[in-house]
């Protein structure tokens, strides 16, 4: 695997929209080719070379390419957008849309990310070692296709509206989350190892949400069913199972009505 290293030289005046920073676009390109790829700063089209020193070279394919992003890129959006293979390592924090519509490969951010990380994610692995913003693994505004598959792991906390319109895949937040979790979800699994607040699983049709800590306000559309013993992300324990959101339509499968499942650790 070949490695390309991008080191930010100076902070852009406006936020940089850099959806070209992906193994797919870099594949087969030299450092000079990569430096001449475009990005947007406001309405101006600029080259990546304006803000980044580019070292190394890309592999022949996306799968053979690793990108290391050095320095503070908390003003750079869309890193790893639509990436299908290969690897990206962001050593500090990044702005919005990290790994948006990601299709495969592995993307790691050592710092924090802002909103919309893993938006509409189709597959792959997204690891955020710091905190994540709002709309993690959700659907783009208006879309009904949130996260479809793959794994998102956040070692810190996450914001509000995570997993909105989620259809598949797994989101693990090791810290706490803000309001609205798995709204409108029709599949997938959300594990919150810290505390939840309110509106967890609102209008959820199908899918699973696990909360290890407290829930400030339970949605009225959830009904307690039974206590179950489970192992969730390596943690064994007893969970209270709730079915919901009872205000929403629910499909029938093999004669059984399928509900959204909310498990709270006892």
């Amino acid at each position: 695997m070949e490695t390309v290293t991008l080191t930010i030289k100076s902070q852009p005046v406006l936020f940089l929209e850099a959806d070209n920073i992906t193994p797919d676009v870099f594949a087969g390109k030299s450092a000079a080719d990569i430096a001449s790829l475009h990005a947007y700063e406001g309405r101006d089209q600029i080259t990546l070379g304006k803000y980044f020193d580019v070292a190394g070279k890309a592999g022949a394919t996306a799968a053979d390419t690793k990108i290391v992003v050095k320095g503070d890129v908390s003003r750079v959006k869309y890193i790893g957008m639509k990436m299908s293979a290969g690897e990206i390592l962001v050593e500090k924090s990044a702005d919005m849309y990290v790994g948006g519509w990601m299709q495969g490969g592995k993307l790691t951010v050592k710092g924090n990310v802002d909103a919309f990380a893993g938006l509409g994610m189709q597959n792959g692995e997204l690891i955020i070692e710091g905190n994540a913003g709002n709309y993690l693994g959700a659907a783009y505004r208006g879309d009904w296709r949130g996260m479809q598959a793959g794994v998102i792991r956040v070692k810190g906390n996450a914001g509000s509206d995570i997993g909105t319109f989620m259809n598949g895949g797994t989101i693990i937040v090791e810290g706490n989350v803000d309001v609205h979790v798995g709204t409108h979800a029709e599949g997938g699994k959300i594990i919150v190892k810290g505390n939840g607040k309110s509106k967890i699983g609102g209008q959820m049709v199908e899918g699973e949400i696990y909360v290890f800590g407290t829930i400030d306000v339970m949605m009225p559309g959830y009904k307690y069913i039974e206590d179950v013993d489970l192992e969730v992300d390596g943690v064994k324990g007893k969970f209270a199972l709730y079915h919901g959101d009872l205000g929403e339509r629910h499909p029938k499968r093999k004669g059984q009505i399928v509900y959204g499942k909310l498990y709270q650790k006892i």
Binding site: A139, Y140, R141, G142, R249
Partner: protein, 569 residues
């Protein structure tokens, strides 16, 4: 003004009966003229080895107005990755099933379409429709106000007052600068306001107590009483439901015995739109099947009706119609987001995204039915190509529809690509149809036919001297067989398009915004004090706007082409 001579092309013109002969087309002052009438200064355009046709005419699409714009508003996800930036000569354009106004004009023009009709204008929001029409470059446009659920119409028809209906139509066409009488789910959309629907043409509308059959027939009579350029334009009840072909045939039969009465050369008294959605057999989605043969047998035998297809293009699209109850039915089926609007006293609308997937049996059958209608048509002058944009697919897929109609191989390839091809074949007739439309038939279905049905045969649809110089040149050489993909590519990007004598597309790119016109009908009737009083009364009692603020003022329509109709005799 400029003169042009288009030389050496293979010309297809149903108006003059030219079937691919080499001929020169001369243009002067925006009109087609005889070659002898232009000077030696005329600019020559070499069309050697290419096909030349009149600009195509769109008879039914939802391309302007509040419903379309609501679709744009509530589908931001559709526009996310589809924008093209501003270029010299063209503005930023985006969207797929609900393109921006600019993209609408550009895409029609690039395909060689030079005229398009907005198929459903809510009268109260006519100003919005005209604002969008004004912002759609190049193509001439008109809009059909909807009448089939209008309280005035329902009340007059309850008392069988055809003259009053005619006077109201004349008033509303002038007031809204509308083009024709559109009927959507007659009575059913009003019933929807009561949580009900009219499934057959004999279900009475709540409160008004008239039936869809009475509404259609009454509006048909009023339309012919006025002698409007277009006939009534009908989307009948029971759209999209298995077994609905009987409702469709019942609706067709309402036109029996009527003859067209107008000075525009129009011969039909009823145009039925997107017939694909109305040609379904079976009684559930499991035994759903094509009834295109029954439908086309009737259409072929009755020359006072015309139809358009509503061809499914197998895309992700956005359905939008004034058929409010149908859209609710659809959102219950696919669970995707639903928008619903009521337009006081007049109509309603609903919007739901829809994915016509080749992996779903029903979608494959719908796709086949549309093509069957065209391939079973004996008279291509009465069957027109549409996708009911954006309901069955975006209009930008016309080249693909043309490919399917012109190539049996292309159809077979698509059938083979279906997940349930055996089931689709079993429920349809398409696999047994080997007809391939000719370029001449295509020109009939997309040019001369719709122009005639709209009463615009004097302007559009042909290349006869005296007609508007709307001309499209395609990279298709009839002497060399084209592959299906070459057919689609050629119709997607015309080599050259002229609108009213102005070159607007050269080598597939927009070179000018042209000088688009808005077509509307100014119908005069004898003074009718009752209708005048009723209108005033309704505005005082029910409308939330003042009558003086209802009219579409002239500045909304800066470049009108007014068609005068006089029914005062």
């Amino acid at each position: 003004m400029s003169e042009y001579l288009i030389k050496n092309g293979f010309v297809f013109d149903p108006v003059q009966g030219i079937k691919g002969d080499k001929a020169d087309i001369a243009v002067k002052d925006g009109k087609i003229v005889k070659s002898s009438e232009i000077s030696s200064k005329a600019k020559t355009i070499d069309a050697k080895g290419k096909s030349v046709m009149a600009g195509a005419v769109e008879i039914h699409a939802h391309i302007a107005g509040p419903k379309v714009n609501e679709g744009r508003n509530y589908r931001p996800e559709e526009k996310l990755f589809g924008y093209t930036p501003k270029k010299t000569g063209s503005r930023m354009a985006g969207g797929f099933s609900i393109p921006t106004t600019f993209k609408t004009g550009y895409e029609y023009a690039r395909m060689g379409y030079t005229t398009a009709m907005e198929a459903a204008m809510p009268p109260l929001y006519a100003r919005h429709v005209h604002e969008e029409i004004k912002d759609t470059p190049i193509i001439d446009e008109g809009a059909y106000p909807v009448f089939g659920n209008n309280w005035f119409v329902l009340e007059y028809l309850k008392n069988k007052e055809i003259e009053n209906v005619a006077a109201y139509i004349a008033w509303l066409l002038t007031e809204t600068k509308g083009y024709a009488v559109k009927i959507v789910n007659p009575g059913g959309t009003e019933a929807w306001g009561w949580g009900l629907n009219c499934i057959s043409i004999h279900d009475p509308v709540p409160y008004f107590d008239v039936t869809p059959a009475q509404i259609v027939q009454g509006l048909l009579e009023a339309n012919e009483y006025l002698g409007l350029p277009h006939s009534i334009h009908v989307h009948t009840n029971n759209l999209g439901n298995p077994g609905n072909y009987e409702t469709t045939l019942d609706t067709f039969k309402l036109a029996e015995g009527y003859k067209a009465k107008n000075k525009f050369g129009r011969e039909q008294v009823l145009h039925h739109t997107h017939v694909q959605f109305h040609s379904y057999g079976g009684d559930n989605w499991g035994n759903f099947e094509s009834k295109s043969k029954e439908i086309m047998e009737y259409v072929n035998k009755h020359d006072n009706i015309t139809i358009d297809l509503g061809q499914v293009t197998l895309d992700e699209t956005t359905t939008m119609t004034a058929d409010g109850p149908f859209e609710h039915h659809l959102t219950e089926l696919n669970h995707l987001k639903w928008a619903n609007v009521d337009v006081e006293l007049e109509t309603a609308a609903g919007i739901v995204p829809y994915i016509y997937s080749p992996n779903i049996k029903v979608c494959g059958i719908q796709w086949a039915i549309g093509l069957e209608l065209a391939l079973l048509a004996k008279d291509p002058m009465r069957t027109f190509i549409t996708t009911d944009h954006p309901n069955a697919g975006p209009f930008t897929r016309y080249p693909r529809v043309m490919k399917w109609l012109m190539s049996e191989k292309a159809r077979k390839d698509q059938i083979d690509a279906f997940k349930y091809s055996d089931k689709v074949v079993a429920a349809t007739h398409l696999a047994s149809l080997d007809r391939e439309l000719t370029m001449y038939e295509l020109a009939q279905m997309t040019r001369a036919g719709p122009a005639k049905a709209l009463g615009l045969a004097h302007l559009y649809g042909g290349l006869k001297p005296g007609m508007d110089a709307d001309i499209a040149i395609y990279d298709l050489n009839p002497e060399k067989p084209a592959t299906p993909d070459e057919i689609e590519a050629a119709f997607s990007r015309a080599r050259y398009v002229m609108k009213s004598g102005t070159p607007v597309v050269v080598d597939g790119e927009i070179v000018s915004h042209g000088n688009k016109r808005t077509l509307w009908v100014n119908a005069k009737v004898n003074e009718n004090p009752q209708v005048v009083r009723d209108i005033k009364d309704k505005f005082l009692r029910y409308y939330s706007v003042n009558q003086a603020n209802y009219k579409v003022a002239n500045h909304f329509v800066p470049n009108p082409y007014i068609i005068e109709v006089d029914a005062t005799q």
